[in-house]
């Protein structure tokens, strides 16, 4: 028995990987739905966006890449639906070079669903290099930072940019951020200096880092990882009939997340049980 426990503690990590693979694949093949509650941080984000009026302007910084798509793309899609539903002007830019091919088609697709016109209701400014320098430059002048938008049109001439130049001219800033440059840089360079209302959707690993910003009021809302995206989906589509809803990727992903988390917890429990029974015996 002791030998078995020692071997369990020192087992090849590939068994751990196999267990993880099974715990992810099985719930994807056999989906189930568990109810979940909405976090106060996500509720606040939804409420503030819901309070926007037609003609208000939102700057979205869509800073994620293929790796963080499962966590952030659902929020991004839902947020666009939410904004276009409110007839809000959407100006979007990105600081990640890998983001444009991901975010631009989504923006065009969802804008099309609401019959929103490019240049009048929305624009995509494209990618700008420079990271924090670019963010500082945005703070001073969006038009100067992006003299042309992604389609090569002069930013200043676009009707959607009417009355908008410095980033504080916007009503809110949404940072959909998978890392750096992202939410933290915007909080430091923009929110702190210009006191602009700002929300963030971030990966789950970053969410605990940004909770202090939410508590201090620097962020009016925070959506953390897939759970946050799923909660936001729940709020935005609460009144939408099921047949009219788009595919809710985060909501369906929550089941996989649940099983994955349970697997790790069980592994930790068994590992510690073996550890105690062998009194800290030989391990890897």
């Amino acid at each position: 028995m002791l030998d078995l426990l020692l071997r369990f503690q020192a087992m090849d990590r590939r068994w751990v990987f196999l267990g993880m693979a099974i715990s992810i694949v099985v719930p994807m093949l056999l989906p189930f739905n568990l109810p979940f509650k909405v976090d106060g941080r996500v509720q606040d984000l939804y409420d503030r966006v819901e309070a926007l009026e037609a003609g208000d302007a939102v700057y979205i910084s869509a800073d994620f890449d293929p790796g963080s798509r499962p966590e952030l793309e659902p929020f991004f899609r839902t947020h666009l639906h939410h904004l276009f539903r409110k007839d809000v002007r959407v100006v979007m830019g990105t600081l990640w070079p890998t983001a444009p091919p991901l975010v631009k088609p989504i923006l065009e697709e969802i804008a099309g669903e609401y019959d929103k016109e490019y240049g009048r209701d929305w624009t995509f400014l494209g990618y700008i290099d420079g990271r924090e320098l670019a963010i500082k430059s945005l703070g001073q002048s969006v038009r100067k930072t992006y003299p042309l938008d992604d389609r090569g049109n002069k930013t200043a001439d676009l009707p959607v940019m009417l009355g908008l130049d410095a980033i504080r001219d916007f009503d809110i800033l949404t940072s959909v951020s998978a890392g750096f440059p992202g939410t933290q840089a915007y909080v430091l360079q923009i929110q702190g200096q210009y006191n602009l209302e700002m929300a963030s959707a971030c990966t789950a690993v970053s969410a605990p880092d940004y909770i202090p910003y939410y508590q201090s009021g620097q962020l009016f809302g925070l959506s953390g990882g897939m759970p946050g995206s799923a909660q936001y989906e729940k709020l935005v589509y609460a009144d939408t009939p099921e047949e009219n809803r788009p595919r809710l990727a985060a909501t369906s992903g929550m089941n996989v997340l649940s099983v994955g988390h349970m697997y790790i917890i069980v592994l930790l429990f068994l590992g510690n049980l073996a550890f105690f029974l062998t009194r800290g015996g030989k391990e890897d």
Partner: protein
């Protein structure tokens, strides 16, 4: 002067950029805006240096059929093909059509996206193996770490929320853990790191730190 000039430039530019936080006057912002643009241009220009370095490091090994020359050849061929695709379609991005070419998009959609997602997905497996190996209740602190990790993981997902009777209390405890002790620790780390950053920044600006210039 070879060592003094960089220190002087660092000092003066550093003071100007620190001053930007305090001086909102448009004339001053015009100067700092100009400096920011120079910084953005330098950052973009440095990619050329990176490209040259990649070729310098890998090409000799391929030519001489050195160790792992095959991998290096794949890297160089991928680099060349992607660059060629990007450059050959670069002009398209300035036209009103604004569509990226099929080939460039193909590389992105069918090579880059799956590879990037795969690398990120590795984290799930590595977290499991690292957690299994490292999260042992050896002492009080380790036990606290283990319990907190398990609680937050469990209560963050619908399974934890749905536990009868205690589910909502677990969620409340999880929220408290994130909002109170987690915040306290992170704020402490933020403040400490920020003060360390101020100290390092001031050392560099004042010329006290010179090892990046080649020592004494």
């Amino acid at each position: 002067m070879k060592r003094t000039l960089p220190i002087l430039i660092t000092f003066v530019i550093g003071v100007i950029m620190v001053g930007e936080f305090f001086i909102p006057h448009w004339r001053y912002r015009a100067l700092t805006g100009e400096l920011l643009e120079w910084g953005i241009i330098l950052t973009a220009g440095a990619f050329i240096l990176g490209l040259v370095n990649l070729i310098q490091v890998h090409l000799p090994t391929v030519v001489e059929r050195g160790t792992d020359w095959g991998y290096k050849a794949v890297l160089l061929v991928s680099l060349a093909v992607t660059l060629a695709m990007g450059f050959s379609n670069g002009k398209q991005r300035l036209d009103s059509g604004m569509e990226v070419s099929f080939s460039y998009k193909w590389i992105f959609d069918y090579v880059y996206v799956p590879l990037s997602a795969t690398m990120f997905a590795l984290l799930a497996f590595y977290i499991a193996s690292a957690g299994f190996r490292a999260f042992r209740a050896r002492n009080a602190e380790a036990t606290l770490l283990l319990v907190a990790a398990a609680l937050v993981m469990f209560a963050s997902v619908p399974i934890g929320e749905g536990v009868p009777v205690i589910g909502e209390y677990l969620v409340a405890l999880k929220d408290w853990t994130l909002d109170v002790p987690n915040n306290a620790a992170r704020r402490a780390i933020f403040i400490g790191a920020a003060l360390g950053a101020i100290s390092t920044g001031l050392r560099v600006i004042l010329g006290l730190e010179r090892s990046h210039l080649g020592g004494d």
